[in-house]
Symmetry: C2
Subunit: 387 residues, 2 copies
């Protein structure tokens, strides 16, 4: 049975993995819309290859290039933030929400408000929008399929189970590239060192988040919204091999875990085929070859991001959106060489401490909080001492 | 809601674990029947404690003692093989089939033929009866809930999934107490050494089976009947910590694993409460404290039992029943000091090679094969050289 699909964020890492799976199963999918921020030529090439009906660039200044690259194809072209939301509103069987950062929030919400089935790879959307998004999901009867490897693991471990029977959810964390480093070396870490993730090949922003463990902090907030078991039942364990992607312990002390290769095609395939399964071109798990899986408690002295994230979600309201925005600014500053590695989480925490916004109750408020938090984070960058 | 339960094998290890859970939830259960082989006083005490309506000893010579121990209680007493089957035929919401060895076959089949829900802890029943039992389950609409920790793990990992989507099922094996021993030391192993299992506290027979790895071989056969994915999709991995109890890999390369303490109350609770969950009095899983989980391929040169079992199920027909019977006789002889440790699997393999019975198609045939295989195994013990 052919199903229609829209891919918000077609030219990123998740987009490439999704299209790899669609390419292997051409009869199963009819591509409705593909979007990118500004990679017009690449987007046009994908739209032609997959026979998309619509291609959208979020940055309107790239629309002319897109139109030119699509000329003669019959594929519709559009540009700008509203066009992204309009693309997300078109009726399809499956929307993959894979726009990185807060830019994905409005299009993801548009897909939610259509009541569709959404493979959610844009964790910042859920971190910033939180209950605004989960309430919209409930109101519009949308289905969220978590695509982050950890949340997808939890989702799979909950299949056939009930959330009331859950005693504990444990997110696994690789610990990032600096897990075994001394504090002085971590403080002197360069962007090149921070983006060299030991297990996953990812974009620069998420790789830095993994090095600070803010990625796990944001996932912690995301998990809290997706799987409302309460913060005292939501834990993190460091598992450097990233073979177990997360776990659910039931009240009888049965723990279900999802294991697999560090390849996003596995959780994406799980969403695309849900509730069935589809083939992926990956090798079987060979634990005898892997030999050992190790585990340790997180070190929140050395990597305070998970503590900061937990405090943000405990505070509730605007705090997670502020944390997410401040972290994006701080990571940008680190990648540009403006601040040291340890300043990233410090800037996030300082921005949280200095900005007390009322709880946002709609998308407009969330975007306003996000914008103001970015401004405050930039101020923190300028006024605070560089480490 | 109170449900009725019959426990076949109340005085063994599985029986004690089951009754511990029933004792903790007295309002949830009404005990219909409890059975034992010959522990009349213990059985009577349990029947009184749990307010059972019926107590049965399989060995009729113990019936007088049971009657005396139950006098004045109003609890019905019965004895003999037929009485066990009659107890199993009484309508209840849940039957726990926990009689060790081939003695449990007929009562378990009686419960199956009633079309009931059966928590199956008697692996020899499924090994010996194989397709006779699975066909009876289908014909009578019975529900088998696997209670062996490995099979229960697989059952949990399949919840929400479809067997057609399974790429591989992996049984984990502790490797037993001799996993790291030299061949010469294994050959000289004593019964005391063989029953000292590193992770599980179990009866002598199953502990010896664990030391030879015949336990895993029998579980392999059991898994083949319970989860018919084909032998090429059924694997074994040695995992000394016994934290992961088994795994299911789906065709998208997602692997689901069930983890938990080495305590049979967890899989039993999973069966008793299925498809819901119930509390058990066990500690949460603490992987940071456990630190590491290790894995290695089985060494079938040193521990041939899993190879022999795989060959028996490949041969099909009567072979698994012959293997199971010969192994029981060989383990008895080892525990009695009559043969060395390495002779156990050798006797099983020799009996398999020397006895070519036609495929049994009913319970009577299976029991005849079982009986003849025991005779042949005893002959092999007498005629073959002791190692």
């Amino acid at each position: 049975m052919t199903r229609s699909i829209t891919l918000l964020g077609a030219t990123g890492s998740i987009g490439a993995s999704t299209l790899d799976l669609v390419r292997r199963n051409p009869d199963d999918w009819q591509v409705e819309a593909l979007t990118a921020n500004c990679s017009a030529k690449e987007l046009a090439a994908l739209a032609r290859e997959f026979g998309a009906k619509l291609a959208v660039v979020g940055d309107e200044s790239c629309l002319a290039e897109l139109r030119e690259a699509l000329s003669g194809s019959g594929i519709e072209a559009a540009g700008g933030a509203d066009a992204l939301c309009e693309a997300a509103r078109r009726p399809v069987d499956m929307t993959v929400a894979a726009i990185v950062g807060c830019a994905g929030l409005a299009p993801t919400m548009a897909a939610v408000e259509r009541g569709g089935t959404i493979a959610l790879a844009n964790k910042e959307a859920l971190v910033s929008a939180g209950s605004v998004m989960t309430l919209a999901v409930a109101k519009h009867g949308a289905t969220l399929l978590p695509t982050d490897s950890e949340h997808n693991a939890i989702f799979q471990c909950l299949a056939g189970g009930k959330i009331e029977d859950v005693a504990r959810i444990t997110l696994t964390a690789s610990g990032g590239p600096f897990r075994t480093w001394e504090r002085s070396a971590i403080e002197a870490a360069t962007p090149e060192q921070a983006v060299a993730h030991p297990n996953w090949s990812m974009g620069a922003k998420i790789s830095v988040d993994s090095a600070t463990m803010m990625n796990k902090g944001l996932e912690y907030i995301e998990a809290h919204h997706l799987f409302p078991v309460g913060l005292d039942r939501l834990k993190i364990v460091v598992h450097p091999q990233s073979v177990i992607h997360s776990m659910v312990e039931y009240r009888d002390r049965s723990t279900l875990a999802q294991l697999g290769p560090s390849d996003m095609r596995v959780p994406i395939a799980s969403c695309l085929a849900w509730p069935a399964r589809m083939e992926t071109p990956l090798e079987p798990l060979d634990l005898a070859r892997i030999g050992e899986l190790t585990f340790q408690a997180p070190d929140e002295e050395l990597f305070p991001a998970t503590r900061i994230a937990r405090e943000a979600i405990e505070a509730g309201g605007a705090a997670p959106a502020i944390l997410n925005a401040a972290n994006e600014i701080a990571v940008e500053a680190f990648l540009a060489g403006h601040i040291g590695f340890s300043r990233i989480t410090a800037v996030a925490e300082e921005t949280l401490a200095r900005y007390d916004a009322p709880p946002p109750d709609n998308l407009e408020n969330i975007l306003a909080v996000d914008s103001e938090a970015r401004k405050r984070a930039r101020e923190a960058l300028e006024t605070a001492p560089l480490v």
